[in-house]
């Protein structure tokens, strides 16, 4: 792996960045749902129209997976990522429909160095996934772990 561009030090509380441009196709919605979430409103256009969701739409887990991919392409693959211990909360606020174009808005809300591992820091992000109408379709809040550029160095906030 080449030298990371982003370390824990590079994520500043209050900073907001936008990235990603993901067009959602009918084929990929059905492909994901067939394997992981085969409910009618994720598999069939007519069943989607007749459901409370109003149209064929992506599984929420697929939305999370697309969000993750955009985050990987947007910064994680160029970062000293060390994984994530989980996600505090995900809200599926609006359906993701066939033909939507999605992007990510990422805001750093908290960060702290790891006490037990001087080479690591933790960062909390508020992630919004937006569609082409600027509607927030998914939000996610959670911590992730990143390598530090200066392990154990004092931190000013």
């Amino acid at each position: 792996m080449s030298r990371p561009k982003y370390y824990w030090e590079d994520f500043r509380v209050g900073e907001t960045v936008e990235f990603g441009n993901k067009h959602v196709t009918k084929e990929e919605i059905i492909e994901f749902a067939s394997e992981f979430d085969p409910q009618p409103f994720h598999l069939d256009e007519e069943a989607g129209r007749q459901s409370i969701l109003g149209g064929l739409c992506a599984s929420g887990w697929h939305s999370c997976a697309m969000m993750m991919r955009m985050m990987c392409d947007g910064y994680i693959l160029e970062s000293a990522s060390m994984g994530a211990p989980g996600v505090d909360e995900v809200r599926w606020r609006k359906p993701v429909y066939v033909g939507d174009t999605l992007r990510i808005r990422r805001t750093c809300t908290e960060r702290r160095p790891s006490k037990s591992r001087p080479e690591m820091g933790l960062t909390k992000f508020h992630i919004e996934m937006l569609n082409q109408n600027d509607e927030v379709v998914v939000t996610s809040d959670g911590w992730a772990m990143y390598g530090r550029r200066y392990p154990g160095a004092p931190v000013e906030e």
Partner: protein, 161 residues
């Protein structure tokens, strides 16, 4: 699904298990989470977990897969008047997703779900929200995933107030 009125807090269901192969861990991660420790077995040896591990989203999506299969296998009988029980509804999201131990190649994860809360919906009198504690445990008894799931479930009779 049972009707919302018939859902009982404390009801627990074993959903079965899934063994994660190297091929499927890599295939999922290449599409959705292509970090080197999810797609490259050699590079992963020097990564944060010392070995190839499944994306947490893969571990979680597999819970959904087994949940749907279990629901189908345990279909509710129709009401006395012949009315068919409801299909599962959508979800407003989840809380408190934890991946405390990574899923490694060859791990067999057993999944379960337990109803912990029922919430009336003011905005949708025909529906309620059911909250459940969902867990995945590996072959050594370690919890690899837990979260609080939420699903909309139809009521047999809409709320009047």
């Amino acid at each position: 699904m049972p009707w919302f009125e018939d859902v009982k807090i404390g009801t627990r269901m074993e959903l079965g298990s899934h063994t994660f192969t190297e091929d499927e861990i890599i295939a999922f991660a290449k599409k959705y989470d292509p970090q080197y420790f999810h797609i490259d077995p050699e590079a992963a040896k020097n990564g944060p977990f010392g070995t190839l591990t499944a994306s947490g989203w893969h571990t979680s999506a597999t819970w959904m897969k087994l949940m749907i299969a279990a629901r189908r296998a345990n279909a509710e009988p129709p009401d006395a008047d012949g009315r068919q029980p409801p299909a599962g509804g959508p979800s407003p999201g989840f809380l408190d997703m934890k991946w405390p131990v990574p899923v490694r190649v060859g791990d067999t994860i057993s999944y379960s779900t337990e109803v912990i809360e029922k919430i009336d919906m003011r905005s949708r009198p025909g529906w309620g929200i059911v909250r459940s504690r969902n867990v995945g445990v590996n072959q050594n008894g370690e919890v690899v995933m837990s979260f609080i799931g939420q699903g909309l479930v139809q009521r047999r009779e809409p709320r009047k107030d």
